[in-house]
Symmetry: C2
DNA sequence: CCTAGATACATAGTATGCTATTCTATTTGT
DNA sequence: ACAAATAGAATAGCATACTATGTATCTAGG
């Protein structure tokens, strides 16, 4: 049973990404938040209001994806947008005060899940995993020379 | 720049899963295949025809997700279904002969991407990554006791 | 035999992500 | 000043995943 699947990095990365995201979704649901909101909340909380393009870069997702995420976050009253006076193309995204109050809880939830993942694993496992993933992702980020 | 994001396992797992999937999608597109087809193709190729429920278990995705994936695979003529004579509820999923012919190329594409991810990394990095992810996923697979 | 429960699959609704395209606003080069 | 290029954001269309629910069909207990 289970062939060579568990020997494929691609399969295990996909599987663990889904497991992480599901646990995060469950833990965030009582706060009315979703996992995709996290990078936006952390970025805005750490560095203040930002444009959509800046948020997309910092979360490393494409701009249209961020557009949809921000629409949901606006619907859920996590963020609001202020049109930029000097540049009519952009709007500056702000955290609502309600969202700002949630930040400590959100950080604690994210930390809990991240650390629970490494229960019973040797110290440094998390850093090691992050290092391996960072390098693997970097190797695959450049498209192959054709 | 880049705060504590790159120090979060959850963020890096999500990011690398997306990078892996995008590269896989690009490489499979010329064959008319998508990444989500891989676990189905490999399972059917390795162990022969199977039911939808068996395929969902082997890919570790939920049944409704597998139902949609199989619908797309049927549309793309990668699989076909044969109603089970003895049990009117099920259908047995088979690879088309066209799909069977593609299996070697698909394996080579998947292997290429998996190994390209570890270019320049120490030998054993892939196995180590898989081990860490397997244990992290196992830790998060049981919901927390409430 | 016939109903209660279990099993296999389908459907609905939503979230998250992508590419391709479009729209508008700003900037740049002549 | 104005046409062309660039930049910010929105939209369309699709893939992949989830939960919740519905619909058959099958199996067991009475």
């Amino acid at each position: 049973m289970g062939f060579e699947r568990y020997e494929s990095a691609g399969f295990m990365i996909n599987l663990s990404a889904r497991v992480f995201e599901r646990r995060m979704a469950e833990a965030l649901a009582p706060l009315g938040l979703s996992p995709a909101y996290l990078p936006v909340i952390f970025t805005l909380s750490a560095t203040g209001p930002a444009t959509q393009a800046e948020l997309a870069r910092s979360a490393e997702i494409e701009q249209p994806t961020m557009a949809l995420t921000l629409r949901r976050m606006e619907r859920d009253e996590i963020i609001y947008r202020v049109p930029d006076e000097t540049d009519g193309r952009r709007a500056i995204v702000h955290l609502t005060s309600r969202a700002e109050e949630l930040v400590p809880q959100v950080e604690s939830i994210a930390d809990d899940i991240n650390s629970r993942a490494f229960d019973g694993l040797p110290a440094g496992s998390s850093a090691q995993l992050i290092d391996l993933l960072t390098r693997a992702a970097a190797n695959l980020t450049q498209r192959p020379v054709e």
